[in-house]
Amino acid sequence: MKNNRLIYLIKGELIRLHKYKVTTISIFIAIIWSVLLFFVEGDIFNSLLPVLILVDATTMSFMYIGSVMFFEKKESTMSSMLVTPSKDSELILAKILSNTIHNFLSTALIITVFVILKDVQISYLLIAIAVILVTLYHTSIGLLLSYYQKDFTTMLMSVMLISFALLIPTVLFMLNVLTGDIWEYILLINPIQSANIIITQSFKPITLDWKYYFSLGYLIISGLLIYRFLVLRNFKNYAVSISGV
């Protein structure tokens, strides 16, 4: 029953993503991206595809989990969930895992389109690991962000501000405003930079350097810590506050 319940909750979340049109929107966005990229050629295409996958696995993860949380807040359904035998961890994991499955499928759709149409050379295993890990990580952050935002608009603003703040150092480094090897290390603490590395290095030719392994380990360890000590620990207070009872 215990494991069945988690699977059942995930299934329920996926059904609701469909019922609340989140799945339709994500497929629609994936198709738009695919159409746009279809007309891009050569080096620009090669550099744009990883960026697109990165945006899908990071920013879109924030958006999708944010929309789910605010739908629930609007309908106060969390209170009904709190009085079922489901554990807090099951409720959170169901949201994180369903969002990851959902996001993974939309990213897989984009990748499949380009593997077929543009003969993109990619390691399926590495890109699957990268997309799943990055989505898991950013969905957890998105869940945490939703605890502290009043509504979806405020959450969007926060996501933009955070993404912008995280991107600044990377851009400054690329523009040689920040120079020196030390920045190469410091920037790896930025989860978006780590995500970028594990996604980019999944494209062929595969040359996995230390940065890949560091980023992989960093995302796994910091992701687990964020889940355990921030997302899970603060869930009950948040759930009670939005339960509306």
């Binding site: 059904i15 309908e75 009085v83 079922t84 035998p85 489901s86 009670v240 509306g244 009872v245």
Partner: protein, 289 residues
Amino acid sequence: MANIFEVKDLKFKYKTNQENVLKGINFQIKEGEIFGFLGPSGAGKSTTQKIIIKILENYQGNIFYKGKDLKDYKQDFFEDIGVSFEMPIHFSKMTAMENIRFFQNLYKKKADVERLMKRVGLWEDKDKMVAEYSKGMKIRLNIVRALLNSPTMLFLDEPTNGLDPANAKILKDLIREFKVSGGTVFITSHIMADIDQLCDRVAFIVNGEINVVDTPRNLKIKYGERRIKIEYKENNKIVEKLFSMEDLGKNKEFLNTIKEKDIETIHSGETTLEDIFIKVTGVTLDEKQ
């Protein structure tokens, strides 16, 4: 009857408040009874319910459920209880049946949903989106949601609020049937008539303190006026007479009146629960804290 719940010196303070919302309350709920918890808005009714259904933690005092500390219960506690919140809570873009099936599959014990849905008059509309339901239908669905795991204890927050008299009667009958089948009910409400009709015992809570716990009957006897009011017609006028209940059978004037006069009404001086509440607590039920 054994106590199913025992609450001892319960205190609770929200992080944002300076004062305790609950200031050391004590009460017991007996197995198989309908226990009413009454008080004006902000008195601490909902907070108490949230604590005893394990939504709110970090309280002071002791709560025992079936003789075991509530804190020692894990998720299995929720297999045993059913909760209906005041506001209708459902996934609006799913049908009523999809909502019910989703929640029911989270429990080990499963009630006969078809019977419940038919009992509250929703079976015909089971495949409608909840968004299309009226408020009354959503409230009835709330009760089905609370009963879908065949609980032994039911918690109802303002169960008839917003229902028309016909639907309120269906719900009250359902609550009585639940009691007859051996269930225990905890109701918070500010609608005195419902409480009066349903509850075996009631507790009055004001400002986080319980003033009285007793049966509605005892309260009426204790706080009511022991007198009889008779109205009769005489010379085309209505005459009203009051008699003390003490030695009523020996009161010649009373006996002559009922024997000789054309009686229109006879009332005992029972008071309403609402009047008793005001008398005991000094506040009206609508009074905000």
